[in-house]
Amino acid sequence: MARLEVSAVSLRFGGVNALREVSFSVADGELVALIGPNGAGKTSLLNCISGVCRPQSGKVLIDGEDFTSLRPHQRARRGLARTFQNLGLFKGMTVLENLLVGRHTHQKSSVLAGGLWFGRGRREEQGQLEAVLAIIEFLELGDLRDRLVGTLAYGLQKRVELGRALSLEPRVLLLDEPMAGMNSGEKDQLARLIIEVNERRRTTIAMIEHDMGMVMNLSHRICVLDFGAKIADGTPEEIRNHPGVQAAYLGQKAH
C-alpha cells in the first residue's frame, strides 16, 4: 500500500481545469518530485492533498485512510505537513515560537492549563521545548532562535518553515518550491537537510521544485504535470529521456 495515494483528482476554478484526473502515489520513505511548467497545477495538487482546496472529484488517501473530506487541521493531526511557495510563517513570532506552533497537534493543554501555568500544561510546554530545540539544532538555526522570523533573510525563512513542518513529525511532508529564491550555497545546504530528513527520519516527501539539477539528484521518482494533467511518471533517468516531457518542459529550456 502506498503511503500517499492520489487517485483521479479533478479541480476546477470556474471554467479553468486546474487538475484533470490526476493520479499518483508515493511509497513509504520515497522522495518524489512534482515538476511541470508554470500553471501546470503542481501547487493545486498540493492544495488538494493538504486540504486547502477541495477537489470536485477524486480521492486522497494516506496509508489507506481516506483524507478527502477532512479539514486541513484534521489532516495535520494525522501526520501531514507542508510548506508554502510564498512562505506561510507567523511573522510576529520568533523562530522558536514558529516551531512550537508545529507541536500544536502533539499538545493537549487548554486555555486554563496554559493561563494558569499549572500541572500538566506546564510540563507539556517544557517537553515540547526540548523537541523543538533538537530540530532547531538539526537545521542549524540555533543563533536565530529568538529572532522574529519577519526580520530574517528569505532563504532562512524557508528553512524555518521547513523546521515548523518537521516539528509536526509528519508521516508525509509536502514541500512547495523549498529552494526558490536561494543561492547555490543555500540550495546545497537545504538539499543536504532534505536528504537527511528523508533518509534518517524516514519521512516520505513530495516536493515541487524548479531547479532541474536538484530534482534529478534528489528525487527517487519524478511526476510531470502539464495543463493540469499528468504526462509522465518515472525515475529521473526515464523522465530525462521522455519525449513528451522534453517537449512540454525541458524542451523550452534551451541550455
Binding site: V52, G92, L96, E97, S109, V111, G115, D146
Partner: protein, 337 residues
C-alpha cells in the same frame, strides 16, 4: 535557560518590579483624593477590559467593536446576580465574566466567514442588539432608567467606596494580566497569533481555526465581562447610557496606543486613555482661573486635544507605548555593556 519569548517576565527585574509597583499602588488609597481614587479604579477596570480586547484583536487579529456591549453584558449580569439574587461578589464577578464569555462566543460565530472590517461591522451589530435588549427588556434591565447595584461585601465589610473597591480591583487586574501573559507563552496563545499572522498556514499546521477564534472571543469577553462587573460595582447604577459605542472605540484606542497583543501595552494604553481626559480637565480648570473666558473654549477643545494626542502617539510610536518602553530599556543598557 528559558528563551526570552517563553518567560513570564522579559528581564529578571520583572517580578520584583511588579511587586514593588503593586505595593506602591496598594498604599495609594491611604492618601489619594477621592477624585483620583475614582480615576485609579477606572484605570484598573479599563486595564482588564483592554487586556480582554487585546487578546481578541491584538493577538488573534479579530477586530471587534463589541467591547461596550460585552461590558454591558457583564454589568447587567452583575446587577441581576447581586441585586436580585443577592449573591456575593466572589461568585458574581466570575459568573458575570462567564455570561459575557458565552455572549461573546455567540457573536464570534460570524468570524468564521468574516474578516477585518466586515467582522467589525458584524460586532457593531452585536453592540446595537445588546443595547436594544438593555433598553427594552425592562423587567430585567430596568430599561432606560437603569438598575441599582448593591455594594460588594467581604466578610461583612462593604466595599462601598473607591478606597476599598480599589483593593478588590488591583489584585484582580494583576491576576488576569498574569493569566494573559501565561496564555501568550503557551499553546493557546500561540494558536491565536498564528491565526492572526497566517490563518491558512495555521489551519495546515493543525490548528482548528474556527474553534480557536471562538475560544479567543470567549476568553476576551470573559475579561471584558469582569471589567463590566467591576464597572457596575463602582457605578452602583447602570443604564444603557453607560455603554455608548464611543466606549468601544475608546477601548480600541487603548490597545492601539498601548500596543497590540501586549500585556504591558494594555496597561499603558488603558492608563493613558483614562487619564488623558482627566489631565485635560485639570489643565483647563487651572487655566480658567486666570482666563475665565477660556472655560468654554477649553471645554470644546478637549475632544480635539484628545484626538490630536492619539494621532500624534500613533504617528510617533506606531508599535504602541509598550514597544517604546522595551526599546528605551535596551537603549539604556548600551552604555553599561
Amino acid at each position: 535557560m528559558t528563551p526570552p519569548s517563553l518567560r513570564l517576565f522579559r528581564t529578571r527585574a520583572g517580578l520584583p518590579a511588579l511587586m514593588a509597583f503593586c505595593l506602591a499602588l496598594c498604599s495609594l488609597p491611604a492618601f489619594a483624593s477621592s477624585y483620583w481614587l475614582d480615576v485609579l479604579c477606572r484605570i484598573g477596570i479599563a486595564t482588564i477590559g483592554a487586556m480582554g480586547l487585546n487578546i481578541l484583536t491584538g493577538s488573534t487579529g479579530q477586530i471587534s467593536l463589541g467591547n461596550a456591549a460585552f461590558l454591558a453584558v457583564g454589568a447587567y449580569a452583575t446587577a441581576a446576580l447581586a441585586g436580585r439574587f443577592e449573591l456575593p461578589f466572589v461568585v458574581v464577578i466570575p459568573l458575570s465574566g462567564a455570561i459575557a464569555a458565552v455572549t461573546g462566543m455567540l457573536f464570534g460565530i460570524p468570524s468564521l466567514r468574516l474578516r477585518g472590517l466586515y467582522l467589525a461591522m458584524a460586532t457593531l451589530a452585536a453592540h446595537f442588539i445588546v443595547i436594544f435588549i438593555a433598553v427594552h427588556w425592562e423587567s430585567v434591565t430596568g430599561g432606560v432608567n437603569g438598575l441599582a447595584v448593591p455594594a460588594p461585601s467581604l466578610f461583612g465589610i462593604e466595599l462601598d467606596d473607591d478606597r476599598r473597591l480599589f483593593l478588590l480591583i488591583l489584585p484582580l487586574a494583576v491576576l488576569l494580566l498574569l493569566f494573559a501573559r501565561n496564555l501568550a507563552r503557551t499553546r493557546p496563545g500561540r494558536a491565536f497569533i498564528a491565526i492572526r499572522d497566517q490563518d491558512i498556514a495555521a489551519e495546515v499546521i493543525g490548528i482548528d481555526v474556527f474553534r480557536y477564534k471562538l475560544i479567543s472571543f470567549a476568553v476576551s469577553s470573559f475579561y471584558v465581562g469582569v471589567a463590566g462587573s467591576l464597572l457596575a460595582y463602582q457605578a452602583r447604577l447602570i443604564s444603557p447610557e453607560n455603554f455608548p459605542i464611543t466606549l468601544a472605540i475608546d477601548y480600541l484606542a487603548m490597545i492601539i496606543v498601548g500596543g497590540l497583543g501586549s500585556v504591558l501595552g494594555s496597561v499603558l494604553g488603558a492608563t493613558f486613555i483614562t487619564v488623558l481626559p482627566e489631565a485635560l480637565r485639570v489643565g483647563s480648570g487651572s487655566l480658567s482661573g486666570r482666563y475665565p473666558a477660556m472655560v468654554e473654549l477649553f471645554a470644546s477643545l478637549k475632544m480635539g486635544v484628545f484626538g490630536l494626542t492619539i494621532i500624534l502617539s500613533l504617528a510617533f510610536q506606531p508599535q504602541g507605548m509598550a514597544a517604546r518602553w522595551h526599546s528605551s530599556k535596551i537603549w539604556r543598557k548600551v552604555p553599561a555593556s
